[in-house]
């Protein structure tokens, strides 16, 4: 019995230690923003990597998510003669929930893994130590630009995803189920509030930060050559995905839990 309790305690202590390491890592990286030098070129490069190059995968995912949403809600609501709610369901689901979450999960797979692999490889090939010997703080040069780029890029990506997703639903509603286009768009606008969009964008900013942070953290502390980099990449994607879902609940509760 004692051994069982000790095992639970060890897991809990391990979780607390890992959380402490992660928060310390994020704090040290963010603290570098207070003093120069600033690496604007690195920030631009990472913003393009995280934001611009994720547009195709996020756009495609959002398009099909919106289309499936329209399809599912129509088949469900038609049982209660409530087909008119399709437009509302699509726009609220996309802006509040699916736009940010699906986009962030896609970016976690594409960018979080790439960040962990790149920084992890730099770690195991001494490139991070080389940065230090060249009077360059690795947290300032490698981590901070990625954290800022993740934080800024995701809201823009999600805004684009929201628009594409809503139009995905629109196409299915109009061309498959014969909805009136004007009525559908009116319905879309009628029930959409600014807080729906803002909550989605706040989620996106937090998710973007999480994806970049988990990629950087696991890459930065990777050990043991190619296998270590592989583990870092896996952990970066899995932990970012889990944290996205946890923080999705927390932010949703903060906005709409009243």
């Amino acid at each position: 019995m004692l051994r069982f309790l000790a095992a639970i305690g060890a897991v809990f202590l391990g979780f607390l230690a890992a959380t402490g390491r992660l928060v310390t890592f994020a704090g040290l990286a963010l603290a570098t923003v207070l003093t120069p030098p600033y690496y604007f070129r690195a920030l631009l490069r990472e913003t393009i990597n995280i934001g611009y190059f994720s547009l195709p995968v996020v756009g495609l995912t959002a398009l099909f998510t919106g289309m499936v949403l329209a399809l599912q809600s129509y088949t469900g609501f038609s049982r209660f003669s409530a087909e008119g709610a399709v437009a509302t369901v699509v726009v609220l689901s996309m802006t509040r929930e699916l736009g940010p979450v699906i986009s962030a999960l896609m970016v976690a797979g594409r960018v979080g893994a790439a960040i962990a692999a790149e920084i992890g490889t730099m770690r195991v090939t001494d490139q991070i130590d080389a940065l230090t010997t060249l009077s360059t703080d690795p947290l300032r040069y490698l981590v901070l630009p990625r954290l800022i780029a993740g934080f800024l890029s995701l809201p823009i990506l999600v805004l684009v995803a929201d628009i594409i997703g809503v139009f995905g639903g629109y196409f299915v509603a109009i061309y498959r189920f014969g909805f009136n286009p004007e009525a559908y768009l009116n319905r879309t606008q009628q029930y959409l509030e600014m807080s729906d969009v803002v909550s989605g964008l706040v989620k996106a900013a937090v998710f973007g930060f999480i994806v970049a942070l988990m990629g950087c953290y696991h890459g930065y502390y990777s050990r043991g050559g190619a296998q270590g980099v592989g583990h870092a990449t896996t952990h970066a994607v899995v932990s970012a995905s889990v944290m996205i879902l946890v923080f999705d609940y927390v932010i949703t509760a903060a906005f709409f839990g009243r």
């Binding site: 003093t35 030098p37 690496y39 490889t121 730099m122 090939t125 001494d126 490139q127 130590d129 080389a130 230090t132 010997t133 060249l134 009077s135 360059t136 703080d137 040069y141």
Partner: protein, 260 residues
């Protein structure tokens, strides 16, 4: 105390462990300004750990590391960044940045570390590449497009680009053919003799050690078991040193191997 008697690097009682494995156990070593010291020892004896402790990449549990008489253990981040401007480092695997071109690698410390204009830094980088025997046609390539020997020379150019006061060389000739190894040795000697840089090198390669060292120190079991002038090493009278420099399996250094 005058500058003449203050060692460039002074290490006292340095201890470093990884878990229960005590790698460095009370290391004492000095290096004078403009001197080239080579640390020899078997694999896993802590040579790289010692250098990484001096560079501040690893934190020792105990002991003192003084650079120009100033204690560096426990320096805060900003002071450490300033101190780093005195150092250059040639890593064993070169550690060139894959995503940057050759000249950007060489100029990195000047541009990012010291805020020099890119064009001015490029001129310096090209001059340093020329100094290690690489022409401007190499400067636009990526590190992955170079041979191992060329990568090592680029790494050397990067280490000397900012004209540091102290350069560390970690296995500078490992993995190179004998001719390329001699080219690298010559370049190291040139750096030390012509520029007056203080050099600390780690190597298993006794040919290299004899060529580049003013003094040699042997690390074993977490201690410096012998140190002296390069010319004295063949008559050290130390069993560890004799076994190591003659490459004999028999002797006080026992390799952990299992019977097949």
């Amino acid at each position: 105390m005058t500058d003449a008697v203050v060692p460039k690097i002074s290490v006292r009682g340095l201890c470093k462990s990884f878990g229960r494995n005590r790698v460095l156990d009370g290391i004492d070593i000095d290096c004078a300004t403009g001197e080239s010291i080579v640390i020899i020892g078997g694999s896993g004896t802590g040579k790289s750990v010692l250098v990484k402790c001096i560079l501040g990449l690893l934190h020792p549990e105990a002991g003192s590391i003084r650079i120009d008489g100033v204690e560096t253990v426990g320096l805060r981040r900003a002071a450490r960044e300033r101190l780093m401007q005195k150092f250059g480092m040639l890593f064993q695997g070169s550690a060139l940045f894959d995503s940057l071109r050759v000249w950007e690698n060489v100029a990195f410390g000047l541009v990012q570390g010291r805020g020099m204009e890119r064009q001015a830094a490029k001129k310096v980088a090209l001059a340093k590449l020329a100094a290690v025997g690489l022409g401007p046609e190499v400067s636009e390539l990526r590190p992955a497009e170079l041979s191992g020997g060329m990568q090592k020379r680029v790494a050397l150019a990067r280490a000397i680009a900012a004209e540091p006061e102290i350069i560390f060389f970690d296995e500078p000739t490992t993995g190179l053919d004998p001719i390329m190894a001699d080219v690298i040795n010559d370049l190291i000697v040139k750096c030390v003799r012509e520029v007056g840089t203080t050099a600390v090198s780690i190597t298993h390669d006794m040919v290299s050690a004899r060529k580049i060292a003013d003094r040699i120190a042997m690390l074993h079991g977490g201690h410096i078991v012998w140190h002296g002038l390069t010319a004295e090493i063949d008559h050290s009278g130390d069993l560890f040193v004799d076994q190591f420099i003659n490459g004999r399996a028999e002797g006080p250094i026992q390799m952990q191997i299992r019977a097949v």
